[in-house]
Symmetry: C3
Subunit: 352 residues, 3 copies
């Protein structure tokens, strides 16, 4: 959610995302909307040719269309902007129209900020939040209500910690990191050593966590600290809700982890890896740059760069599809095989 | 958990759930119990004929039995009520014997309630809770310790927000909604647009969430706000722990989502849909009224009303069972096929 | 995380874990480290013969090696200890070098401790935490910031509740229990009874939860209270992040539940059961002592003691592997079968 928009001219926005205002460059838009719900003051977009009709009939003040498509919005009376990638243009415009809400720099009287903590300019600390000894919060950072920032935590500039986020001791966040409500960073990894009596002793979990710039993490996700080393989430990576990132995991930049995915200890993701929802990755597995996994994949072996995998266990996606297709025929295969056995038996009997 | 029960006569309770007190209508019961643990003052039930013996020997003050079965509790000395559906009767009786604990209307001195917030009669706000500007809490609603209710949130009457619940800005709850500890409603949905450099830009997540009357949501579950539209959970639906509901999802009334299930963006569930634990539903999939999915289903395509699906990918349950049965035989099929190939080869050789 | 280590002599530590200081018994170590990152004052270990070279070249002040292997650390200048199980020895040494941080006994002025609550000696209650009426906290227990301890909760000695943990009313914890941030214990189990109109009525969830000594539970995991009976986690069991434990589940001692696992209601795990990540267990299933399940298993039937299962549905691991291997060949089986059918047809035609 964001502040009430101030409003921008269509021409300003078009310049921002490199579009061309075909008509109505002076019109002012105040917020983004879907084609269906749009009204006066709204910016909408259309990318799919099948929706041009609906877009033409909509009531938005401005619609972003693909290059060369301005003429196809029949009957549309508002402003029209052409852009190479309308959805991307719309997202970039939304960043300006709906900037993250700025909270006035302020420490709520019920917050508990340790004496040694260092707060940059304009830092917001909400009601009931705690900031531990030696913690540093960069300028413009927001720590919402009931967050707990542990001792020695280092948070960069313009980060947003939504309510009830917990950062254990010594965690490091870069700039513009967004953590949604209930995220836990730096809890102990899950490592034990079993003794001869079957009793488990904790393997030390005394490492670090580093979350780089521009990472966003969804509600109630957990990122464990390293055992002896460091768990790292690369810049620009986006993590959905209820995701588990085990100790010593290395996530490269610009990765996408969809909801309820779990990464076991020490696995490594390259740059731009995309994992569908509820994916599981075995410990120590390496996933190459640009690789993708379909939802619910169970990745037990290394994945080559720029490949797509799916299934349980995860296989190259084409192989997985072939096996699925064959599996659909398996009950019939069983029947066919039996019949064939009978026919062969008959042939054999005839021969005797 | 609930308050200490006041006690009701067996006759009162029988009237409540439409049962017939066969004997002991004046007896008083104070709480519900299992057959095994029941003692004086306890109400128990038995539905399964195999357990009639145990029920007869139990020490409850009253047992609810199926219609016509009162005579079968041999040796039982307490009150007996007959009901068409004993378990349902027991649940209805429990609602009276163990009403949700009423908290006295009260704002704890450590709570932070914004000046503009409107609190109905008898509202309880626990220690350390925050209620934002413009938020409205209906009469009788309980906001337990350390909950965070965002700006402009609208909560109905007699809702219960257990500790550490977070409602982001603008969320709407109906009446009698129960949210267990750690639930997050209204966090940003997971939507990004990738640019030519592989950098992800946030697609606007500025929509709404509406949770209708009588919904209950389990601990640490997450319900994201709509991107441009609204995420909706229909009245009477029940959601278990650690469930993920993506942006723009539409859940109809009286649905059941068992633990760790995940619904990707924009999927739609009709009325009375039941999804077993750890189910996954792909984005934009529609599931018809009364459909059911077995635990761990991976639903990638629309599901017809009143059908049962299972498996990964989810198939009609019978087909899924058939494939599973065939799969159990697959190693043998491979062997049989090889043998058959040899026999055919022999026949072919003999022919030459 | 833990306090700054005080430092111990190698001889002291060797005595602790039953090792033999081959050289440098007087050396002092202050913390644990990996072979790669170790420096002066660090204790490291090596178990795998392939890493002896790296260990020899490392800069740790002391390395623990397998029995009889001290001579194999070529060129190593620090102290060397031999132990039967170096990793276990290292874990035991770490317990001494990195003891859980002791918080000074203290109730933060912003905490809300009910008048009737009983706090043992040296209890720590952090900022914004709540402790309800009749709750008891054993001596040395730490309740970190923004935890909520419900009415009548009974917590043993030397427990650690990390921030934002919620214990519902009446929950019981043994001694030395560690609950990581966001854990919820005692929320209502998921049980409803459907009436003739399709409306769900809550089955009473008024039972208890008992967590025995030395249990550790990972961040944002949920352990529900019993419906009528008790949910129990046996002593020494370790539960990872985002795990769901349903009502009335019985977990024996020394079990391991890896991340995102879900146990449906009333299932029973014996002693020393190990469940891999994202495993699901159907309600009422029994898993015998010492049984293990591979990650992502879907356990729908009872599992015998000391067996290994895997897959969906979970099968004995060997059978599961055999089926997987056969499945890899299935697309080829379909093709081979078709060819064989043609060959048989030809033979049949020749015969006529």
């Amino acid at each position: 959610m964001s502040q009430d928009a101030e409003g921008r001219t269509v021409a300003e926005l078009a310049a921002l995302f490199g579009g061309r205002a075909v008509k109505g460059g002076d019109a002012v838009v105040r917020r983004v909307s879907s084609i269906e719900a749009a009204g006066a003051g709204d910016l909408a977009f259309v990318e799919d040719e099948k929706l041009f009709g609906a877009a033409g009939a909509c009531r938005a003040s401005c619609v972003i269309v693909p290059e060369g498509a301005a003429g196809k919005l029949e009957g549309f009376g508002g402003a029209v902007v052409e852009a190479a990638r309308p959805k991307l243009a719309f997202a970039l415009a939304a960043e300006v129209l709906h900037p993250p809400r700025r909270m006035e720099g302020h420490v709520h009287p019920t917050a508990a900020v340790a004496e040694g903590a260092q707060l940059g300019e304009g830092v917001y600390v909400g009601a009931g939040a705690s900031v531990g000894e030696g913690a540093r919060l960069g300028s413009g950072t927001q720590v919402h209500s009931n967050c707990v920032v542990g001792r020695g935590v280092n948070v960069g500039r313009d980060c947003v910690l939504r309510p009830n986020v917990v950062l254990y001791e010594g965690v490091t966040l870069g700039d513009r990191v967004v953590l949604h409500a209930g995220v836990v960073v730096g809890a102990d990894g899950f490592g034990y050593v079993r003794d001869a009596e079957g009793v488990y002793h904790k393997f030390p979990q005394v490492g670090a966590v580093v979350i780089e710039d521009d990472v966003e993490v969804g509600a109630n996700s957990c990122i464990d600290r390293g055992a002896l080393g460091t768990t790292r989430v690369g810049r620009g990576s986006k993590i959905d809700n209820l995701v588990q990132v085990g100790h010593n995991v290395q996530i490269g930049p610009h990765c996408i982890l969809v909801g309820q995915t779990g990464l076991a200890g020490s696995c490594r993701l390259g740059t731009g890896v995309v994992l569908g929802g509820q994916t599981a990755v075995r410990d120590h597995v390496r996933i190459g740059d640009g690789a993708m996994a379909a939802a619910r994949s169970a990745i037990a072996e290394d994945v080559d760069p720029n490949t797509i995998v799916s299934g349980m266990p995860a296989l190259p996606h084409r192989q997985s599809l072939r096996e699925q297709a064959a599996l659909r025929r398996l009950p019939d295969v069983v029947v066919q095989l039996r019949k064939l056995q009978e026919r062969v038996e008959e042939l054999e009997n005839a021969k005797r």
